[in-house]
C-alpha cells in the first residue's frame, strides 16, 4: 500500500513539472522588463504575476517596459522598435500591446502602443482612456501603482468584451473623503429640512412696516452719487490638469502600430 501511494505521488509531482509557469511570453522572454530599475524586487514580481495572469486569461501578448536610456532615440521610436530589437518577434510581426515608460531625462514619456491586429481592439479612444486613468500615478512618480492600474484596465477591457467604459479602481482615500463630504452635505440638508419644519411651528412676527407704507407717498427729494476709489485683486490662473497627450500611428521594425502617449 505504501509503495502504491509513493508511486502515485511521484507521478503526480512529475505531472506538475509540465504545468506551464506563466512568467514568460511565448518566445520565452520576460513579460515585464524593468531596464530603468525603478521597481523593487517585490514590486517586479507582483507586476509580473499580474501581467501574466491577464495575458494567459485572455490569451494576449502584453509587455510592460521601463527604460532610462533611450540611446539617442525618441521614447516612441525606442518603444515601437523594442519588440523586434529584443527578440520578441520577427521583423514586422509583433502582435500585442505594450506599456512603455521612459524615465530618460531627455524624453520622459509613457505610451500605450498596439501593434498590428491589436490596433483594431485598442483604438485611439481606448488607449487615451487608459492613459488618462493612470496619468496621476505616473505624473506623481508612483510608477508601480500606474503599472498595476494599467494591467487591471487591460484585464477589464477584455472582460468587458473589448468595450469601454473601463471601471475605475476603488480609491480608498477618495472613499473617506466622499464619506466626509456626504456626511457634511447630509447634515446641512437634514438641518435645513428640520429648520424649515420648525419654522412652521413658531410664531413669526413682522419686523417692518412695509404694508403700512402709503402707496406713492415716498418722495425722493435728492440723490447724489460720489465715486470714491477702486481696488483690483488678481489671482493666478490654474493650469489645466493633465499634460497634453496625443495619438499617432506608423510603422516600425516590430510592425504597424498605433500609439498614445503622455509627457511626464
Amino acid at each position: 500500500m505504501k509503495k502504491i501511494i509513493t508511486v502515485f505521488l511521484c507521478v503526480l509531482f512529475s505531472l506538475m513539472l509540465f504545468i506551464p509557469v506563466n512568467a514568460e511570453t511565448d518566445e520565452g522572454l520576460p513579460r515585464v522588463v524593468d531596464n530603468a530599475g525603478i521597481f523593487t524586487e517585490t514590486q517586479f514580481e507582483d507586476l509580473t504575476d499580474r501581467a501574466n495572469t491577464v495575458a494567459e486569461k485572455y490569451d494576449i501578448e502584453y509587455l510592460l517596459i521601463t527604460c532610462d536610456d533611450l540611446e539617442g532615440m525618441s521614447a516612441q521610436t525606442y518603444a515601437t522598435e523594442f519588440p523586434f530589437n529584443n527578440g520578441y518577434c520577427e521583423y514586422g510581426e509583433f502582435e500585442g500591446v505594450i506599456l512603455f515608460l521612459s524615465v530618460d531625462p531627455y524624453d520622459k514619456h509613457y505610451y500605450t502602443i498596439a501593434f498590428n491586429s491589436y490596433q483594431n481592439d485598442f483604438s485611439d479612444k481606448v488607449r487615451e482612456k487608459i492613459n488618462d486613468i493612470i496619468y496621476d500615478d505616473m505624473k506623481s512618480g508612483d510608477y508601480y501603482e500606474g503599472f498595476k492600474q494599467h494591467i487591471k484596465l487591460v484585464g477589464q477591457f477584455y472582460k468587458n468584451g473589448k468595450k469601454l467604459p473601463l471601471k475605475y479602481r476603488i480609491e480608498w482615500d477618495n472613499v473617506w473623503i466622499a464619506l466626509i463630504v456626504g456626511a457634511v452635505v447630509g447634515a446641512v440638508v437634514g438641518g435645513m429640512r428640520l429648520s424649515s419644519c420648525k419654522k412652521k411651528m413658531r410664531v413669526v412676527a413682522p419686523v417692518d412696516a412695509h404694508q403700512y407704507l402709503d402707496g406713492g407717498s415716498f418722495n425722493l427729494r435728492d440723490k447724489r452719487t460720489y465715486y470714491l476709489y477702486s481696488t483690483v485683486t488678481k489671482t493666478p490662473r490654474k493650469e489645466s490638469s493633465g499634460s497634453s497627450g496625443g495619438s499617432s500611428s506608423g510603422s516600425s521594425s516590430s510592425g504597424s502600430y498605433s500609439s498614445s502617449g503622455r509627457s511626464l
Binding site: Y168, E171, N174, V175, I177, A178, L179, V181, G182, A183, V184, V185, G186, A187, V188, V189, G190, G191, M192, R193, L194, C197, K198, K200, M201, R202, V203, V204, A205, P206, V207, D208, A209, H210, Q211, Y212, L213, D214, S217, F218, N219, L220, R221, D222, K223, R224, T225, Y226, Y227, L228, Y229, S230, T231, V232, T233, K234, T235, P236, R237
Partner: protein, 360 residues
Amino acid sequence: MTDTTVSYKCPACGSPLTYNPNGKLVCAACSNEFDIEAVQKFAEAETEGKGFDWGDYKKEFSAGAEKLENTAVYVCKFCGAAIETDGTAAATHCPYCDNELILNDQLSGSVKPNAIIPFEIDKNAAMQAVKNHFKGKVLLPKDFASNHKLSKITGVYVPFWLFDSRIDGNANINAKNIRYYSDSKYNYTETQHYLVTVDGAMKFSKIPVDGSEKMDDDLMDALEPFDYSSLKEFNPAFLSGFLADRFDEDPDESLPRASDRMETSARQVFLDCASEFDTASIKSSNFSLVDPSVKYALLPVYLLNLSYKEQNYRFAVNGQTGKVVGELPISKFKSFIQFGSFFAGAAAIAGIIAYFVMGW
C-alpha cells in the same frame, strides 16, 4: 491760538490724506486719489446718523376721553385681566389663562375707542381654522392634535394703538460695483466704491401695536394684516356677544415697537434707491417724525389656550381674516425622523457624486 487745521482720512485705508497740486486728495499709504467733494461728503457721513427722532409726539387720543357706559366688567382672580362685555356675553373663563372669571361691578367702564373692526368670522369658522392650522405640521405630536378642546375658543376685542406718521430723513449708503475679467495668467476682480446720499420722505398709516400687557406682542403682530377698509367708528353694539379687553399699556409704551418697524422700512426704502449697484448697505441714517398721531381701536381676535404635557400653548385667530398663529409643541421623535431621512438621502447622493467626481 485756535487750531484751524483740517484733516481728512482715506476712505479706503483710513490713513491721512494730503492735497496734491493736481486738485485731488492723495493717500500716501494706498496711493488712491480722491475728489475733494467726495471725501468731504464721506467725512460728513461718518459723523451723521443720530438715528430715529420722534420729535413732538402728538396724541389724538386723550386720557380724558369719553368712557364706556352700561358695561359689565369681569375680573380674573388669577391673572388680573379685566374683561369687559356689554352684558350679553357670558364670560365664564378668562381667555388669557383659562381660569374662572368673577363679575366685578365696582370697576368703571374703560375709555371709549376711536374705532373698531367688527368680527367677520364666527366661532365655528375660527375652530375650523385652528383645526386646519394643525394639518401638515410634520413635527406636531400626534396626541396634541387629537386631544384638544377647541370649543373653549373665545372671541375678544383686543385693544390696539394705530400709529400714523410721516417720516422725513436721509441716509448715506456704501455702494459697490464689481467687475471680473482675466488674461492668460491672472483672474482679476475690480471693485469700485461709491458713496450715495439720499434724502426723502414717506408716510405710514395705522401701524398696529397691541395695548394689552397680557397679550404676547409677537403673537398679536403675527396676526396681521387687518383689512382697514372694515374699520368703523366705535359703536357698543359691535361688542354684543363678545368680550373686550382694556388697554393697560399707554401709547408711549407701545411706541417703540411702531417706531422700530417704521425705521426698518424707511431704511429699506432708501437702500432701494441704490439698486443700480451690485451691493449696497446703509452707512448712517437720520429720521424725524412729522405730524405723528395715534388712535385707539379694538380689533377682533379669537383666543384659545391648550395644555399639553404641563405646558400652556396659546393660539390667536384673526377675527376678520381667519389667520391662525401660535407656538406648537415639537415631537423629538418626529424631528429625528425628519432629520435622519433627509440626512441619509442627501449623504448617499452627495457621497456617490463626490467619489466619482474625484475619480475623473
